[in-house]
């Protein structure tokens, strides 16, 4: 089930909210209620995914129990992490690996075509963080139903944010969170609507042009290719952050505050800054559970070694997004961007704010072409069009996109710029509200 589907908005959400707020009267344990609804939510798309996620939850529960009961059992931690990565590789990357082996060694291994279970990428990272927390004794007591809910909680299940157990669990247990809270409800509702608008009006509106442009990429000229790349950059932001808003809004109506995942990323002044504003919970995971442990394990860590680790971490982040070389390149481009930023910092080089913003935004915009392209060749073709200056000759092609029937697109395109660069964001709305609560 997706958040912007009618089933979710008009049936599922009202139903869970009703049960949730009346759970006291019908004497249902809220944890079981949320688990049940989350299972329905998850299996709506395809019930065949359900056994795998339940299998993963049961195994991981037992592994984490082992980690909690033993003292710093490194072997068990290693086995647990490998188990989760192994499942992810089998279901998400096996065909990609086979394809590459075939083209490298001229073999003919048939592809397996396993269905990719929804949410598995997010669940894998969330569980790995959880296992490390158990190993570190940040978590010292665990009930099966609490762990089950932590993994399957429907607002964050499909596309994040990636949450930590010690952040979520106290909220689920808090007694005050089990009764109707009008301000949480109304703020949640507003955030949900903001997300819905981002997704259905902006992301979907831009996608019409983006889909057309990427399909006919050979016909692009200078202007249309720039419009195409900007359109996709905004589409991706509205799509993803809209989805996160809908998750945050839904969770807030259930009195659960999800962590911030976006913070006006296109206002960033560097690529480092960008990853502190774009998919924040992913960056946090990469820093805390890959970068820091790895850097710590190396003796005499120096600048060069840190830069190497950062590059590899972003390579992993890239391929995590999908089994394709375009995502590997996407990760590498960002890793390289971060390294360049660190070199600038190290040698105290700085640019003025406008120039920094301009460079950063364009760099992100180029990198997103790789995110969307079906193959590397297509990405480079589009980049080539963006830097071909035969604009006057091919103006006719550009004009095709500005037919009156595309007035909607033009309005959305212009509004996207204004919203991303000038407006405050939905996280600001939430923070301002909770800050005002604290003062009262």
């Amino acid at each position: 089930m997706l958040f912007f589907s009618q089933t979710y908005l008009f049936i599922f959400l009202p139903l869970i909210l009703t049960f949730f707020y009346f759970s006291k009267f019908i004497k249902i344990d809220i944890t079981y209620l949320l688990i049940l609804f989350s299972l329905i939510f998850y299996s709506w798309w395809n019930i065949y995914y359900l056994p795998l996620i339940i299998f993963s939850i049961i195994i991981n529960y037992n592994l984490s129990k082992g980690l909690i009961e033993t003292n710093k059992n490194k072997k068990l931690l290693f086995v647990s992490i490998v188990f989760n990565i192994f499942i992810l590789i089998i279901f998400k990357y096996l065909d990609f690996i086979i394809l590459n082996i075939n083209s490298l060694f001229n073999t003919n291994i048939p592809e397996i075509n396993l269905p990719f279970p929804l949410a598995l990428s997010f669940v894998t990272f969330q569980v790995i963080a959880f296992l490390v927390n158990c190993y570190d004794k940040e978590i010292d007591y665990l009930k099966f139903k609490d762990f089950f809910l932590f993994i399957i909680f429907f607002p964050q299940l499909i596309a994040g944010p990636i949450v930590r157990y010690n952040y979520m669990h106290p909220q689920f247990k808090e007694k005050l969170n089990k009764v109707f809270n009008y301000s949480n409800f109304s703020l949640g509702f507003i955030i949900l609507i903001i997300g819905l608008i981002k997704k259905t009006i902006f992301a979907d509106g831009l996608s019409i042009y983006v889909d057309y442009g990427f399909e006919n990429y050979k016909d692009l000229d200078f202007i249309s290719s720039w419009i195409l790349s900007f359109s996709f950059t905004f589409q991706l932001y509205f799509d993803f952050s809209g989805y996160i808003d809908m998750a945050t809004g839904s969770a807030l109506m259930l009195n659960i505050l999800l962590p911030k995942n976006f913070n006006s990323p296109f206002k960033s002044l560097s690529i480092i800054d960008f990853w502190q504003r774009w998919h924040i919970t992913l960056s946090n995971f990469l820093t805390n559970y890959i970068y820091i442990p790895w850097a710590k394990s190396i003796n005499n860590i120096n600048f060069l070694k840190s830069m190497f680790i950062i590059t590899i971490v972003f390579l992993i982040a890239g391929i995590w997004h999908g089994p394709s070389w375009t995502f590997v390149l996407f990760g590498l481009i960002h890793g390289l961007g971060i390294v360049i930023n660190h070199i600038f910092k190290r040698y105290n080089l700085s640019l003025n704010n406008f120039f920094s913003w301009f460079l950063t935004f364009n760099y992100i915009n180029f990198s997103f072409i790789f995110f969307r392209a079906e193959n590397i060749n297509q990405a480079f073709e589009i980049l080539k069009s963006m830097f071909s200056l035969n604009m006057i000759i091919e103006l006719e092609k550009t004009l095709i996109f500005f037919k009156p029937s595309n007035l909607n697109f033009i309005i959305i395109f212009v509004l996207s710029f204004l919203i991303c660069f000038l407006f405050k964001n939905s996280s600001y709305l939430i923070e301002r509200y909770f800050d005002s609560q604290k003062i009262n």
Binding site: D136, K137, N284, T287, N288, K296, I301, K345
Partner: protein, 74 residues
């Protein structure tokens, strides 16, 4: 337990900033040089100097002077 000044001194050495520029309530966001790379150096230095073990998952949380002090207070 280390004092506030000891911690500020250690941070100032690790990130090459004058100790007087680091205020009691400062967080990593207030000091430009206290970035993610510097943060790891600070954490490793804290571990070494005060002979403590800071969990990986704890490290990112200790991003301000008050939080570091609170950590040692336990």
């Amino acid at each position: 337990m280390p004092s506030k000044e000891e911690i500020k001194k250690l941070i100032s050495q690790e990130i090459n900033v004058k100790q007087s520029e680091i205020k009691d309530n400062h967080t990593s966001k207030d000091i430009a040089k206290w970035d993610s790379l510097a943060h790891l150096r600070i954490m490793l230095a804290l571990e070494k100097k005060f002979d403590v073990k800071i969990n990986t998952s704890k490290m990112s949380e200790l991003d301000s002077i008050p939080k570091i002090l609170k950590f040692f207070d336990k």
